[in-house]
């Protein structure tokens, strides 16, 4: 049973990413969208938390939101997969349900 967790807020603004990581089970997918994509950046205070999560979960970030926020590929934490909206739809289909962490 694997769920897709969407996180749309920056980890420096709210605890939504932290909560999504804490309460999602191993094998889950976490998709960062909107301001949530700031959680995908290397070298931040949130990097450790995200890398730990990647030990048993897959983390994705939405391309158009990264681009709008000037987060280039070389600033992303290694192993984060960039997807577009079509990829977002595929993630919804591939997982059992979607849980939004607002």
């Amino acid at each position: 049973m694997a769920d897709l967790h969407t996180v749309n807020k920056s980890p420096f603004e709210k605890n939504s990413l932290e909560a999504a990581i804490k309460f999602s089970q191993a094998g889950s997918a976490i998709l960062l969208i909107e301001d949530g994509v700031y959680g995908a950046m290397k070298g931040t205070a949130a990097e450790g938390m995200v890398k730990d999560a990647m030990g048993d979960k897959k983390v994705y970030a939405l391309k158009s939101d990264l681009m709008a926020r000037a987060i280039k590929d070389d600033r992303l934490i290694d192993g984060i997969e960039v997807v577009d909206y079509a990829g977002f739809v595929d993630l919804v289909e591939a997982n059992d349900k979607v849980q939004a962490w607002l």
Partner: protein
């Protein structure tokens, strides 16, 4: 009517500062007519929604704390509260309202369906839900 699904209403925001707490309750009330398997999950500032003693007389806002106490009559069998969220806010279950539940067919009664749960239980309960509403 379709199959019965496990619904979870996820509440992470405090009451009154924004409308999300109240409007999410409205979905629960309307949802009762659909006879799904309903539980509510309170975490982060959402735990403040259940704190006893709210008095809105000086705020000119509708006090909706009494509505939570009726949820047992609206098909809600479980109101889960994240323990760590309570602790971080200096709260215990004594600070929270109690909500009674009765199954009118089997006459099974539960004095209080407000139930603190630990992180593993929260994760498990969420994973077992088929639909999660976020507000």
């Amino acid at each position: 009517m379709s199959d019965i699904k496990k619904f979870m209403y996820l509440n992470r925001r405090a009451p009154y500062g924004t409308i999300y707490a109240w409007e999410s309750l409205e979905v629960v009330l309307i949802g009762a007519a659909f006879d799904q398997e309903v539980s509510l999950m309170f975490m982060d500032d959402g735990v403040f929604q259940l704190v006893k003693g709210s008095d809105t007389s000086a705020s000119d806002m509708k006090n909706f704390l009494p509505t939570y106490r009726t949820l047992g009559d609206y098909g809600v069998r479980h109101m889960y509260v994240d323990k760590a969220s309570l602790e971080a806010r200096g709260l215990t279950s004594d600070d929270l309202i109690e909500v009674a539940w009765e199954d009118f067919e089997t006459e099974e009664e539960v004095d209080n369906i407000v139930e603190p749960v630990d992180a593993d239980q929260v994760a498990q309960l969420m994973a077992e839900s088929e639909v999660v509403f976020s507000f």
